[in-house]
């Protein structure tokens, strides 16, 4: 069942176009993450869905209802802000009650709901404090609590974790995921943090300059990026891009990278390969590993030129005919700069892009 439908949404401020041609169907219970660099329009899209900003053209449906012209309060949504946006002059309790009071619910019911949700979020001991007396993590919880008490059809999160330190961010991420599993409510979540996006999303929407680049499960988007931007935006260290030329020979397709020739038998072409076509070949560092000799993987002998230790793994830069290629090696794999060793490439996971359009081919 479709819960939210964004149809042909456009947004411009004067001459500046913020969003173009956004269409998106969201199923009930999905956890949609809008991902993109700052200024890509992801927050604007969220605010449009919330009804906080009017759209230039197009329409929004929530729960089968056209809400394009409805006020935020009539859209059956709740939102958590990056700055938390807690009312500073009200206690935590009053913050959580405010929305329900505005809706004229009976006081006893409001009290009960607030107590229950506060307990659920572990903030019931903070109810009488002011937001200024809370830590960042506690404020975050209260902000979520304020959204949860309303039991809305949709939760909107606008970069909710970016004001927290790295460690707290990790644990809050897990909690949001648990919360989603428990409530089963549809979530739209805006972030520029790919780790959050990958771990939380059931589906990911990658955006750039107001245009949707790709919609899909985190796995799809990561392993089958539809364009070079998406490929590049996800993953750390970033995908290796190598200029190559397609070759058709011996009834097989090859990619020629300098003097190296890579077989593309396992690549699912979208377009018919043409001999001599220049392409960009993309390989994730996770697909470049030490050859263990056992399997019949594609293997090259490469020289390590740089090693970065991250603790859990090493990022090794190899020289491939004068081009740099980064691979992820286990930390316990003994290696020093300057050594040449056999390196295995997982060719099932590579991507090919057109050099001009940068689209997957």
């Amino acid at each position: 069942m479709i819960d939210i439908r964004v149809v042909d949404c456009h947004k411009s401020y004067g001459q500046v176009r913020i969003l173009r041609d956004i269409s998106l169907d969201i199923e009930r219970g999905e956890f949609i993450v809008l991902l993109g660099p700052s200024g890509c329009g992801k927050s604007t899209l969220l605010h449009i869905i919330a009804g906080l900003e009017p759209l230039t053209s197009g329409s929004i449906e929530i729960g089968g209802r056209d809400v394009t012209d409805l006020e935020p309060k009539d859209r059956d949504i709740a939102m958590v802000f990056q700055s938390y946006a807690l009312y500073p002059t009200m206690s935590v309790r009053a913050n959580m009650e405010f929305g329900l009071r505005m809706r004229g619910r009976p006081l006893a019911e409001i009290r009960a709901v607030v107590e229950e949700k506060a307990k659920m979020l572990g903030i019931d001991h903070l109810l009488d404090r002011r937001p200024s007396q809370l830590s960042g993590g506690q404020r975050q919880r209260v902000a979520i609590g304020r959204a949860v008490v309303r039991e809305p059809r949709v939760f909107l999160f606008d970069e909710p974790l970016s004001n927290l330190d790295a460690k707290l961010r990790g644990s809050m991420r897990t909690e949001i995921k648990k919360l989603h599993r428990r409530l089963g409510t549809t979530v739209i979540y805006v972030t520029h943090d790919q780790l959050e996006a990958m771990t939380l999303a059931t589906r990911l929407v990658v955006m750039k300059a107001g245009v949707m680049q790709q919609v899909g499960t985190p796995d799809e988007v990561y392993h089958r990026p539809l364009n070079r931007f998406t490929a590049d935006f996800l993953g750390s260290p970033g995908m290796n891009f190598l200029d190559a030329v397609l070759r058709l020979a011996e009834g097989r397709v090859w990619a020629e990278v300098g003097r190296t020739v890579i077989p593309l038998d396992r690549y699912a072409f979208i377009e018919r390969p043409v001999d001599g076509r220049p392409v960009v070949l993309g390989l994730r560092p996770d697909s470049i590993r030490p050859a263990d000799g056992a399997e019949a993987a594609f293997t090259l002998d490469l020289k390590a030129t740089l090693i970065e230790h991250t603790g859990s793994e090493n990022h090794v830069v190899f020289d491939l005919d004068g081009r740099e290629v980064t691979g992820k090696f286990p930390a316990e794999f003994g290696l020093e700069v300057g050594r040449t060793l056999p390196v295995a490439f997982d060719l099932a996971r590579l991507s090919l892009f057109d050099t001009e359009t940068e689209l997957r081919i």
Binding site: K73, M79, F81, L86
Partner: protein, 303 residues
Amino acid sequence: MPGTFEPLIPRPRRRIFLRRTERFAARFAVYLCLVIVTGFFLAPLWVLLVTSFKPLDEIRAGGLLDLPIAFTLDPWIKAWGEACIGITCGGLKGYFGNSLMVTVPAVLASVTIGAINGYALSKWPFPGARFVFAAVVAGNFIPYQVILAPLAQTLRITGLFGSIEGLVLIHAIYGIPITTMLFRNFFLSVPDDLIKAARIDGAGFFWILFRVVLPMSPSVIVVAAIIQFTGIWNDYLFAVSFANSQNAPMTVALNNLVNSNFGVREYNVHMAATFIAAIPTLVIYVFLGRFFLRGMAAGAVKG
């Protein structure tokens, strides 16, 4: 710590003793200057106060700064209840009341309107909001002389000329630019996310103003109220132009009392009257000086 302004003084070790005496001399000079300055600014108030408690013959004998020998409250009693201003001899008390009746409603009205305007301009912007703001704020800089004559004409036509209501209306209207500016600039610092959160929670334009924004802004409300109170209480131009003698506020009455050329000049009564006229704003200054300063800096632009 007193006596140190370390960044100013280089510290060669062998001159440490000399440095101390030098420093002492410098401190002494600073305080001496400040005492002179203090004397200049306080003397008028002091003279005002002591003179108002002296009988006339003691004043004529000189001794401007001296405490009264024959301390008397009569000048105060006379200034408040008996002094002749124009043709009536009821003292200042009626005019004090006029001032209150003009000032209080005008302050309430202009602060309320300014708060709503500032909120609308900063938190609910629309195309052209900046232009509207500029057009309103420009009103702060305009010398009132340029609107005085048409204003008098308008008041005559509407029958408000000479009345308290007329003055209230004028002060309320011409208070809009400064209060709008103050509130708008303050509200810019209120995060937009709060407004958005409240909208999602279901609060409307005025609910958000009264339940979320204004509770966060007591200081700017006080500042705006102080500017308006001081400005309107101290106003002379509008008062002398538009109030009839019966509805005149304190400033006009005081000037008429002191600068009238009839009869014996009762300086002690004049000084008491002057003090009475200054009391409300002085009290505000003493108790709310912190806000007063902020208000003055912001309000100095006002006509």
